[in-house]
């Protein structure tokens, strides 16, 4: 008999999977769970920092002729708020959940490239520190999170402020891209035997869609920022119209990444919702095929809508019409997902636990954000709405309401798996209701402000313009919303010691991460599960595990493989076993390479050749050792 129904030989696996102890272990780990949680904690740190920046801005705008901050600091605040939320919170926090959950959900013991994974995190951390040093030295970027030229060139933005942005964006892009490659290979090659492509959890589909968008769009952002830095540091003129360059070229490049980026954030958030709603409705997700197809459709269409950020630039209206139409069409996949969630709830019985509340809050908010999205994709209306507070409202309904709410839901849902402790449900409800109500109090009035002519990115306004009360309401709402998010922070800290013990599967959920202990062991699964359903923990009780004999698992791993630092490689649409992969040992090379790159960028920033060369030397040494290790030393 080759299929066992209990957890075999766990004791023998511990020593081969264990990280090194202490500080060395901290810096050398390649465990996707530790890396994933670091991503989540680090990005939440940036979330609260960027939230505080927003509150300072709202304090300044609460009344006309505000005197809290001046224009120079205000410009730094909104630039850093946007840059942080996009590059240092939303993107990496979703990468963190993906990192933690993707291998767990597909029954793998680690990512396809664990060291690359650790490297991605260190790059993200160093890039975050790099960008925030600008605040410490009082020279934060002040050209807006989009840094349009010519305002951001060396003539109009002398000083190091914009270099922090341009270099930082290139820097953090390395992390995002490397992570995406890792996600794609992991999702396609590391699935547990038998997990056919049509049995992937929807969250995994959303990560796949996200990763492909990253791979095709982030390099374009890197080019946009690299040309900007080349203009700034080396005097080229790619974007300088006075020397034959083009200011609009930058906008095309930036938004060619910038709009897919919205969906890079939104897709995994919907994947989280598609994971939460069925579990708390006690109903299999209705319309799995359409939901999965919608995710892939979004990933494609998102590359055809970027010009809707440029409707006011004077491009020919026929050409813009195509992008206007595509921007309307991209509503369809989201609508399909939305009705699939309703259908699931309709057929099920709902448990109003905090994760479900956040998912429902997401649905209420996203519906409005999606509808205003259709409105602004209509070109003539966008001429009025663009660069006004109407857009500020719309984008926060989408990127705060429809991305942050699912992330908070995911925290309540998955953190018990990660830490072994439940979050407090009562505190979670308080947090949710305060966030939900005051989100709307803060951001809804901004629609009206935009319709009444208030442009974005203004540090002050005069008292006779009719904007006073709406701004005051928005500011009060923002402050209370901030308190709501703080309650969840307290909840997370509190639960670490006092939360109820979660057990393996507190929500009686369907996906594989819930089949192992909370928190999971270093090797995730003592034995490789054999999958024959979309909902293995609901349909395959007890879950079949492959350890020995001529069956599926042994074809890939063999008895010894299952007891080694190995995880199965599978292939084809039906994930048939191909071979086993030996998971690399912990290593200091990822952090060494990342550190070298950080020093290199610091050298570029201060234009000090010795620093630059030192960084390059550290990086090249690290990379060579890494390659040497992989090719020559490997057992």
């Amino acid at each position: 008999m080759s299929l066992l129904h209990d957890r075999p030989h766990a004791g023998e696996l511990d020593p081969v999977w264990e990280d090194r102890h202490g500080l060395i272990g901290f810096f050398t780990t390649v465990d996707h769970k530790r890396v994933g949680m670091r991503y989540i904690y680090t990005s939440f740190f940036f979330f609260f920092v960027a939230g505080l920046l927003a509150l300072v801005m709202r304090a300044q705008l609460a009344k006309p002729n505000g005197v809290v901050v001046g224009p120079d600091l205000f410009n730094q605040l909104f630039t850093m708020h946007g840059t942080t939320m996009i590059f240092l919170f939303n993107t990496p926090v979703l990468a963190g959940f993906g990192n933690y959950l993707l291998p767990m959900m597909i029954g793998a013991r680690d990512m396809a490239f664990p060291r690359l994974n650790a490297f991605s995190y260190w790059i993200f951390l160093f890039a975050g520190i790099f960008i925030y040093i600008s605040f410490v030295v009082g020279k934060a970027p002040n050209g807006g999170w989009f840094s349009y030229v010519p305002l951001t060139n060396a003539t109009y933005s002398p000083g190091v402020n914009l270099d922090f942005w341009g270099l930082g964006v290139i820097f953090v892009g390395i992390s995002t891209t490397a992570g995406a490659v890792n996600f794609i290979v992991t999702a396609f090659k590391m699935r547990a035997p038998g997990m056919a492509i049509n049995q992937l959890p929807i969250f995994v589909w959303s990560i796949i869609g996200m990763a492909f968008m990253v791979v095709f769009s982030v390099p374009v952002l890197t080019v946009a920022a690299a040309l900007l830095e080349s203009d700034r540091l080396f005097g080229t003129a790619f974007y300088d119209p006075t020397r034959g360059g083009s200011a609009l070229l930058y906008q095309h490049l930036f938004w060619f990444w910038g709009h897919p980026e919205v969906y890079i954030l939104f897709l995994p958030a919907t994947g989280m919702v598609s994971a939460i709603i069925p579990v708390f409705s006690r109903r299999r997700l209705e319309g799995y095929f359409w939901v999965a197809s919608s995710l892939i459709a979004v990933a494609f269409i998102s590359f055809g809508v970027w010009v809707h950020h440029m409707f006011a630039t004077g491009l020919p209206s026929t050409a813009m019409g195509v992008f206007s139409a595509a921007s309307l069409v991209i509503a369809l996949p989201s609508a399909i997902q939305y009705f699939a969630w309703i259908a699931t709830m309709w057929e099920g019985k709902i448990n109003f636990e905090p994760p479900m509340l956040f998912a429902l809050g997401f649905m209420v908010i996203f519906l409005l954000g999606g509808i205003t999205g259709i409105m602004v994709s209509s070109m003539p209306f966008d001429w009025q709405a663009t660069d006004s507070y109407f857009i500020v409202a719309h984008l926060h309904y989408v990127l705060n309401g429809a991305v942050v709410f699912p992330i908070f839901g995911a925290l309540y849902y998955w953190l018990p798996k990660m830490t072994g402790r439940m979050l407090n449900a009562r505190l979670g409800r308080w947090s949710f209701w305060i966030m939900f109500i005051f989100f709307n109090v803060s951001f809804f009035p901004m629609h009206v402000l935009g319709l009444r002519g208030m442009p974005r990115r203004v540090y002050t306004y005069q008292s006779w313009l009719g904007w006073n009360w709406l701004n005051m309401i928005a500011s009060v709402g923002a402050a209370v919303f901030g308190i709501g998010t703080g309650l969840t922070l307290i909840n997370v800290l509190w639960s670490r010691k006092h939360g109820a013990i979660a057990g393996d599967n507190p929500w009686r959920a369907d996906t594989l991460e819930w089949s192992t202990t909370s928190p999971p062991p270093d090797y995730n699964f003592a034995a490789v599960p054999i999958i024959a359903s979309r909902h293995p923990l609901w349909d395959q009780q007890p879950l079949p595990l492959g350890v020995s004999g001529p069956e599926l698992a042994t074809e890939s791993l063999g008895v010894t493989g299952a007891e080694q630092r190995q995880t199965p490689i599978t292939g084809g649409l039906d994930a048939s076993p191909e071979s086993g992969m030996t998971v690399p040992q912990p290593s200091a090379l990822p952090i060494m390479l990342a550190f070298g790159i950080a020093v290199f960028f610091a050298g570029l920033l201060v234009s000090a050749q010795i620093v630059l060369i030192t960084g390059a030397a550290i990086g090249v040494t690290g990379l060579t050792r890494w390659a040497w290790h992989t090719e020559v030393d490997r057992p």
Partner: protein
């Protein structure tokens, strides 16, 4: 019991949100300038019509879909919340039979595909019609608008009038603005008259509108352009044709010669001071071009690109503390005595 409470709170929260929304929306409609939904040109009217069409459709869709959501979790309430109890709220979900799946599929395709396609077709047709309606025809009145940091240089090429921050146009005539910038990107936005058009270095954009009633319509730069962005406003003043002709005639003339006293002292001080290096006052020794033309400054309604109203008191304030009024303005702070300020104010306000 707790389930009922949660549901009740959710519903109550929804109503609160809707009430807040409705109130703020109504609040918005009842106010004066500036506003996209109080159009004063055919162009802005077409766009406002498109907005109202989409708004009412949106309200309908929002209520309908949210209605589905609310009904969906009223449909079957679980009775027991005991985690893990058999026959309770955390049972393993059954595999729905074919008729269940068929019902859900019809719902998903109907609501997620058919309904939005109908909506998108309506929005798409309205978009094309509005775009064509707003598209510019031939214009008689042509005005060159150069976006500066952070003010607007205005030239009436057919009449030789040069002014700043205050665009006079005749009511009922199609006006074409030619938009250029030799610095950074700006954007022209007068919500009552038309949507935005960016002003981009290296290219020339155009914007047309026809004001349908006399009045003052406030505009503002809508593309972030640096430290002075928030205070880079302007006004469009729509005059009846006779008033417009009078305004043109007055502004074609050189500056009025200073009379005696403070006005004369101010004139001679200005001509000999560094002011003359940047500002032009036609007919005098001040021939600078970096800053706004001041030939008819006294006839304008505002100071510093609609930052302050143009009164003697505000002008004194501006001259005494330029950087305090408008941080980052490229006009340097010049040390002036109170007497010099009084003379300058008297002279500048005399330039009708």
């Amino acid at each position: 019991m707790e389930v009922v409470t949660a549901r009740a709170i959710l519903l109550r929260g929804g109503w609160v949100a809707m009430a807040v929304g409705a109130t703020t929306l109504l609040w918005g409609c009842g106010s004066s300038s500036p506003s996209t939904v109080d159009p004063h040109s055919p162009e802005a009217s077409h766009i406002a019509g498109l907005f109202w069409l989409m708004l009412w459709m949106s309200v309908g869709i929002y209520v309908l879909v949210l209605g589905f959501v609310v009904v969906s979790f009223r449909a079957r309430q679980s009775t027991s919340r005991e985690r893990g109890s058999v026959g309770g709220a955390w049972d393993v979900p059954p595999i729905g039979d074919v008729s269940d799946r068929r019902r859900s599929a019809r719902f998903i395709i109907g609501g997620g595909l058919a309904l939005p396609i109908v909506v998108l077709i309506v929005v798409g047709v309205a978009t094309v019609r509005t775009t064509n309606a707003v598209r510019s025809g031939p214009s008689v009145v042509k005005i060159d608008v150069q976006a500066e940091r952070w003010w607007w240089r205005l030239t009436y090429p057919d009449n030789g009038v040069v002014t700043a921050n205050e665009i006079h146009v005749p009511v009922g005539e199609s006006v074409e603005l030619t938009l250029t910038s030799d610095n950074v990107i700006h954007s022209v936005w007068v919500p009552e008259l038309n949507g935005k058009t960016d002003v981009i270095p290296g290219q020339t954009n155009h914007m047309t509108f026809t004001a349908d009633a006399p009045g003052t319509y406030r505009g503002q730069c809508a593309e972030f352009c640096g430290i002075g962005h928030a205070l880079m406003a302007f006004v469009v003043i729509a005059d009846l044709p006779a008033d417009y002709a009078r305004w043109l005639a007055a502004n074609e003339a050189p500056a009025v010669a200073p009379s005696a006293g403070a006005v004369a002292r101010g004139a001679s001080f200005l001509a000999s001071s560094s002011c003359a290096g940047c500002h032009n006052i036609a007919g005098t020794a001040a021939v600078g071009t970096l800053g706004p033309d001041l030939t008819h400054f006294g006839s304008r309604t505002s100071i510093g690109a609609d930052t302050l109203p143009n009164t003697p008191g505000d002008l004194s304030h501006w001259l005494a503390d330029t950087q305090g009024v408008k941080r980052g303005a490229l006009m340097p702070q010049i040390d002036l005595t109170d007497a010099q300020i009084n003379d300058l104010v008297a002279y500048l306000e005399s330039l009708k």
